[in-house]
Every structure is written in C-alpha cells, then in structure tokens.
Symmetry: D2
C-alpha cells in the first residue's frame, strides 16, 4: 500500500534584502521571480525532483510561461511568506504562488514548465512518468 501523497504545496519565508529594494523603497518587481524560484525549488526537493534530479532523469524542465500580479508593495526586511502549489501535472507542470504579509496578499502568480528530452531536445506533450511517480499522483 502506497504512502498517502504529500501535500502538493510548500511555504517558505523570505525577508527582502537591501539589494532587492529599488529607488521607490519597495522590492523591485523583477526580484519576485527569485522568491518564486526558491519556493518552487524547495517544493520540488520535497518530492526529490528538483533541478539536479530532473537532469538525472533525462529531462530539462524549462519555464515557458510566467505571470506575476503585484498587489501590494513590500519593504526592506518585511517578513513575506511565499507559498508554492502544484496545480497541474498532466501535460505540463504548473505551479501557483501566493506571497503574503500577515493576512494581506502581496503578490500572486504562476509558472508553467514543460519537459524536454535531454537527448533529443524534443518537447514532451505529456509529462514524463517520473514526475507522477515522484509526486505520488496519477494523471
């Protein structure tokens, strides 16, 4: 009997550093891409399928689409929670993000990744089986 699947989400905490803040005294919008990536990377590590494991499995997983909505600005050292949740895994890997400060939403967005065979460099129209095995899900 299989273990119950782990929850398909993970939350991290970040505090924007001085180098993340722009002349308007708020986090520069492009730096949220980093916060998303750290959360996604830790989420995938939970399933033993982060960047290194992806390569070993014979696939690259480039990001093909990304969207970010900036709801509220964030300040230097403000405590932010970044929650990443896998919401699609059939034909592509979609991760949704919500960054909050207390009860308020700061930023939300998503990334979409597709599998590319590392040998043939062909894009896969269905996610490879290894993803489902690692996530403990059935498509």
């Amino acid at each position: 009997m299989a273990d119950a699947p782990k929850e398909l989400s993970h939350e991290i905490e970040v505090r924007p550093a001085f180098f993340d803040v722009d002349p308007m005294n708020v986090v520069w919008h492009g730096h949220y891409v980093k916060f998303f990536e750290v959360a996604r990377s830790e989420l995938m590590q939970k399933f033993n399928y982060d960047y290194m494991a992806m390569r070993e499995s014979g696939f690259f997983w480039p990001i093909v689409d990304m969207r970010i909505k900036f709801v509220r600005p964030a300040a230097l050292h403000q405590l932010l929670k970044v929650k990443a949740t896998i919401t699609e895994f059939e034909s592509r890997l979609r991760v949704e993000y919500r960054i909050t400060s207390g009860t308020e939403t700061v930023t939300k967005g998503y990334t979409i990744q597709v599998a590319v065979d590392a040998n043939t460099m062909e894009m896969q129209w269905v996610c490879p089986k290894i993803l489902w095995e690692r996530l403990g899900v059935s498509p």
Copy 2:
C-alpha cells in the same frame, strides 16, 4: 499645429552576459525582466516620461501585472533585439515586448502599470493627462 506623434515603440539590442546565463547554459528566465525594463525605459525616455519625469509629475507608476512567454532559449552573447510597444494608455499603461534573434521569437510578454498619486498614494483609475501629453495621444 502639433508635430505628428512619434511611433509608440522602441527597439534596443542586448547581448546576455556571463552572469545572465544559468547552469543549463541559457539565459535564466528571470533576467528577461531586466531586458524588458531597459527597453521600456528607453521608450519612455523618448517621450520624456521615464522614471525621474514620472516622479516630478507627481505620480508613481508601479508595475501591477507582468507576463512573459519563453519561446526559445537564448545563449551567452547572442544578439537579441528587444522591441517595446505601448498598446494601452487610457486607464493603465500597457507595454508589449517581443525579443527576437534574427527572424525567430525568443520571448514575448507585457507589463501593466497604473498611476499612483505621490501625495495621496491613491491609485488612478484613468491615466493622468500628463501621460497623454507626453505621448502626444488622445485617449
């Protein structure tokens, strides 16, 4: 009689640097936000309404929404053209981007900015008149 309006687009060239390239030997997806920003900034300078002029006019113009589609990877030092075009200016400032290498599309996307009154910090539901004057357009 007014001058004819300048074209609402601008193109720059960039060559990704070593620090833009990730372990997959392609430009890290988050760095395209910088390429977009450089193109948008030069575009707005053409109309004398870049960051400094925005502040002087009494408005901040934070980015509230951004989307990027990654069509093809780009390599170290690959010559990229980044074209930014204003496609909305009535209630918000929407800029569309297309990054190309030769005849191929590498990346495309958009950013949406809204005006915020620097004194009251209130978001403006219609773009302030100063934007239209600078762009030489009528809403």
Copy 3:
C-alpha cells in the same frame, strides 16, 4: 552598570539558489557580495544600527572598499555559513567575512564603510558617536 558588549560578529546560513549558479556550475563570484550584505545587515540589526537606523541617525554609510578572495567554488544548494565580524570602528567601519562549508573556507573578504553626514554630504573622518553607542564600545 552597562551590559557586557555583545560579540561583534554574527553568522548566517545561506544555500545558493539556481539563479546564483553560473554556466561553470558554481556560484557566480559577484553573488557573494549579496551573501556578505545579508550577514552584515543582520549583524548591524543586532546592534539596532542597520540601514534604516543609520538614516534616522543622520548618516549614510556607503561602502568605499571591498575585497573578496575566492578560495573554493560553491555549488547549488550547498550549505554555506557566512560569518561577519566588525574589526574596526574608530575612523571607519570595517567588517570581515568568512564563508565556510563544513571545515573548509569557501570565500573571505572585507568591506569598509565610512559615515557621510546626510545633511552636508561630508565624509566623516571619525566614526560618529552613535556607532560606538550602538555597538557598546569605546574607540
């Protein structure tokens, strides 16, 4: 009777992220500046004299000199300890850094900051009293 002075050093842990790693599969040398800054910032927070408090005290503290020796490369997600120690505070603020992985040194370096009066923009040849008070030291 005054409290005993806190130790003039602080250690943080960092794990380099995917966006910190370059095509040679090691942390890009310029990113260590960020790791130094996060350690220095937390060190100064311990003494209630980080960036915001510096501004409120009427001084900027720009970095005027920085040196980094790269002893060993660091890899994606490798656990690094970054220790920052104040080693001078009389006429300038000197912070030394040592980044280690287990018992091995990865990087070492220093930064030097001088106080600039925020009103006159004049560089101070002696550190302002507020620094010594916050650090609990006598020059």
Copy 4:
C-alpha cells in the same frame, strides 16, 4: 613578421538601469562587479579568448581575488566608461578596471584569475601558453 600586439585594454560604456539603483538613489555597490565583467569579457573577446574559447582550450579561469574601491556614487542612467586593462599575464591573469564619468573616477578595482586544467582540475602556477599566444605577448 608578427602583427603588432593589440593594446591590452578595452573600454565600454554603460548606463546604470533602474534595477541597478538602490534606496540611496545610487548604484548598489555589488552591481559594479557586472560592469567589470562586461568590460573584461569584451576585452578578452578582442583576443579571441573569452569564456567559450577558454573552455575549448581546456582551461577554466575562475576569479580568485577581486577588489573594488568606490570613489564616487553613480546615478540612474549616468553615462559611465569602464576601462579594463590586462596588467599581469605571467602566472595569473590580472585585469584592472577604472570607471569614470567625464573626468572623474567613480570606481576602480581589479580581478585576478588563475588557470585550472579542465581535466585534472589542477590549478596552474604559470599561465598556459594559449593565453600568451592569444594576447600576442611573451611572458
């Protein structure tokens, strides 16, 4: 008869972008590492011995030491000239940098690189012959 050696220096122009500027309204000190790298990379391209050519020649050239002195702050879009000059090539590759704005020095510094054999990963105590050939110099 050999061609006269090209001058061992190269100058580029950069204009700091919005994302290079920090809450003190000046270029964040860590971003100068990027400006140095772009100048060094173009300098080495002139001699057909930039990053890709280095790898093909069987050597990595990691930076082992870097120093930057920050003389004056630089502002958003300020025109900066970055001159990189090779000043040592016998046992290590030393490049010196001077960033100027008009007649004033903004930043100066150096980087030191050593050759590492890509097969054995052994550090070379003398620069490999290929460097001298490409530079058109004799040690």
